[in-house]
Amino acid sequence: MELIVALGLIVFKVAFLIAILLLLPLPLTWLERKIAGHIQQRMGPMRVGWHGLLQPVADGIKLLTKEDHIPADADRFLFKLAPILALAPPFVVFVAVPFGETVSVLGAEITLYVSNMNVALLFVFAVIGIEVYGVIFGGWAANSKYAVLGSLRTCAQMISYEIPMGFAVIGVVMLAQSMSLLEIVRAQADVWNIVYQPVGFFVFFVAGLAEAQRIPFDLAEAEGDLGAGFHTEYSGIRFAFFMVSEYAIMLLVSVLVVILFFGGWNGVLLPLPPLLWFALKVAFFIYVFIWFRFTFPRYRYDQLMAIGWKVLLPLSMANIIITGVLLGATAAP
């Protein structure tokens, strides 16, 4: 009986999480277009629903009813596999991501995470790495020059940015003495990691921008020079898969930034519910992502590589060494 209840709870949590992740791109696309519009002194979507609120629904219907086109010379198996490979990992990752400690619903204590892995951070980085295959396969299978160029860039970009990203979180792990995201947040109850790890945050955030393929690092789908990059040849629902995946990763990076550096659901000053604090912080970083997109130009390919290897990598390594030395100095009696 106990087992069945526990199992049912997990199934319910997973279903809830998937529903949220699938539906979240709707408000996010609306928000992105609204913010884009207002930054450019336009109004953004205005016609469908109040201030265009139903525009994403209309877009979704359009994408669902569009022809699902596969180029004649495409590798059909990989072409169909790629969107799923791109979509699944960001969803899987959220299994390891906590959204809070516990809430009591109807007297029962419910934990706000699906599982509390002790290597959650490692799991997140390992699984999110698989997403790159979706992008690479998608570009390769379409048999189009733009798409191949897009996925070539993705390969190089992911290799060079995943390393500093991984290094950047080591300082956080050292401070919390744990790789469990839950423990990391608990360790920040008094002081957020951003105070101790400003460089780590900087490296992680920049690498996260590259990981989510947002401007200024969106070379894989640079509209200006590559059509639409790796998903040039995709249409209809398969294209929507890539879009959902992109928004899920954007959400993931925001969530990780909040958990690793901004104290997760620990609030300051205002005694808001922890879950609300968490949501507010994540929303702020999502806004920053969108704000960056309509402020900065795209980096050139060689600049991208230079930033990755010559700036972020040394910075993250120095960060590890300095954190280690300081930790050792303070731990010594």
Binding site: I35, G37, H38, I39, Q40, Q41, R42, M43, M46, W291, F292, F294, T295, F296
Partner: protein, 188 residues
Amino acid sequence: MSHAGDRVGTWIGWAFFADLGKALALTFGYMFSRSVTMQYPDKEKWLPYPRYRGHHFLKRDEEGEIKCVACELCARICPCDCIEVIPYEDEKGNRRPAKFEIDTARCLFCGLCEDACPADAIALGQQYEFSSFSSRDLIIGRDDLLGKPGKAATGGAVVAARLSTEKDVLVEASELQGYNWWRNIRQT
């Protein structure tokens, strides 16, 4: 500050991303500025200034006669060669246009015809919505030109508008009551 000091200041600024911060502040400011676009045609419409050069119209004199004396000066000066005037003599012995056609598909709305006219008979009015599916419909004859709206008395504002699609797509605008578009442009 000295030149070298300036350079050092710039470098320090770069190290702390002062340039990126400036850009972010700028776009943040723009985000809360008023939009310059308008919801044309079903909510708002732009009424042009009185000086605006829109669709041509032909004027009548006090007796209701067409003012044009068919001197063909407008046809002469037109850089696009888009006016065709054929004169005739009416009952009173006046020279009038039997045919007066403007090919608005070719017209560049320079207003030279208005300037050249010795009889003050032709001018460019406020109308700017006359797109068409066929370029043949854009050749406007004498009688149509007499019925075209004249110059706007006031203008330079956004007014409330309504789109009616019953028989023709038509924008119905109300009186001037809107805001000035130019004021919305941020001056920095």
